[in-house]
Amino acid sequence: MAEINKCLDKTDFMKKQYRVALQNSGVINPENIDEYIAYDGYQALAKALTELTPQQVVDTIKDSGLRGRGGGGFPTGTKWQFALNQKNDTKFVCCNADEGDPGAFMDRSILEGDPHCLIEAMTIAGYAIGAKQGYVYIRAEYPVAVKRLQIAITQAKKYGFLGKNIFGSKHCFDLEIRLGSGAFVCGEETALMTSIEGNRGEPRVRPPFPAVKGLFGKPTVLNNVETFANIPPILLKGAKWLQGMGTEKSKGTKVFALGGKINNTGLVEIAMGTTLRTVIDEIGGGIPDGKKFKAAQTGGPSGGCIPAQHLDVPIDYDNLIALGSMMGSGGLIVMDEDNCMVDIAKFFLDFTKEESCGKCTPCRVGTTRLLEYLEKITEGKATMKDLDDMEALCEYIKDASLCGLGQTAPNPVLSTLKYFREEYEAHVKDNTCPAGICKSLLSYVVNDKCIGCTLCKRKCPVDAITGAVKEKHFIDMQKCIKCGVCMDICKFKAIDKK
């Protein structure tokens, strides 16, 4: 008998992963600062404050090649340099823990599993740019994360890792939590800062960039949770260590929330440059029920769908953009043959339309119009001209919107149009939904296998089925709500979905 594996680390799920941001998650007790210290916690802070100048800290981060993990992939060291260069007595460090992408939970897991690494990293950032105050902007829907971070802050203060003259140096730094109420747009950096200031979270024009004029008009560094989680290991292991991992322009690792039609849903951290195929087939364990892979969605509402022919592309910032998607903050949703790509685009547009803050017209009205086109298509009421008009509208919204929400909102439509145009055309020209998802285009029909058992007739929630015992039944399409119950329960396969 083959020996049964007892250890998570030996599973295919873990073997291809490389854990940096998640290194302590699931290992230490997040509410015990001493356990964090046992795993070299606060050593990087000690090193920065006693051995390195602020410029040396910034240089190390620059040399490491670290890029922002919150979506855009901006070089972190360069951002810190801008803020360091500003002559100002008051500066701020902010952490973006808003995590608004539907289905994403990378940042939450770091906060819940390893909150001290964020505190350590932000305190280092404060030293590097000359800031004495930091804020963590975190959504109120994350009560466990908020609680653990609060406990960690209290412990760090008690040990003097936050507060005055940390490790006997001149550096003083304090950290506060600010709760957001979960508007997607508040994850956009200028909206986030406006929200911390106590105003309605609306984006503003950039420049000036936050590093020059940020929170309360002061130079501010804003980074994502996962970006910060990389800082202590980089300072301890050196810039070269991160340099050695990843692709030419994307160094280190990325955490993904793997979901959708995949056997191992979960949180995975991979070295940049790993292929989608490795993530899906090996770490993710493939697609359930032997179904066929259709596309992988990355970048959430700002991203796009990557089809099967690009499964072997190494995952990094630039490759994903070249494919019409983006890295985003780490959502990775796998779709199989049963997913309708028009329906997917509609789902994301429905989200962005609701979350548009309404400040600028191209986004506010544009996303509404875009959603209307998609609804028309899924109802089989669109023309080929509508498809062209919709595509033109996408470009217009991208060009004319004020913030990233509007500028990227058309991506789910554009990328599905690019790779799955024939599926759009099937909806328009043939009034069919090839994946069998769009309800308006479906009909349920009783075939000749029907023996008249009356089971479906009794189970139909809207009494759409008629027919006498032992006679072939009939479905009234005017009444049918296309719930599929009849097809599921029929023992004789007598109902077809068309």
């Binding site: 594996n5 007892k6 998570l8 997040p30 003259n165 490790f167 979960g266």
Partner: protein, 121 residues
């Protein structure tokens, strides 16, 4: 306020306690994944059940620890047992009533309960 020396002292002491220092002690560490995902899957009752069982059996060398997410959603609630000189054991999809068997057979008896380990899904 801690100095760097004190930081290093805590590190050293904790590394010994956690069996990270190359020497070994007889501590057994049971980590229960108690992030939002684990809690939603019912990890809190599992955590409490382990605490109760360890107390009942008087296992003073066993510590029940809450930790964050291990990443594998479908297997929650997950529990890991670490012990010096032995391979880590990962238990998956546990219910509160499985704590008794694991405490008796594994934590007290030294034999992992193969019915609940990850390779046996």
């Amino acid at each position: 306020m801690k100095t760097i020396q004190e930081l290093n002292d805590i590190r050293k002491q904790m590394r010994a306690e956690l069996n990270l220092d190359g020497k070994t002690n007889s501590n057994i560490r049971v980590t229960v994944g108690l992030a939002t995902c684990g809690i939603a899957a019912g990890a809190e009752p599992v955590f409490k059940a382990f605490q109760k069982e360890v107390k009942r059996l008087g296992l003073t060398n066993v510590k029940i620890i809450q930790s964050g997410c291990l990443g594998m959603c479908k297997h929650e609630p997950m529990v890991e047992v670490t012990e010096a000189g032995k391979e880590k054991v990962t238990y998956i999809a546990l219910a509160a009533d499985s704590a008794k068997r694991i405490a008796e057979e594994h934590l007290a008896g030294g034999k992992p309960v193969m019915d609940f380990v990850i390779g046996n899904e």
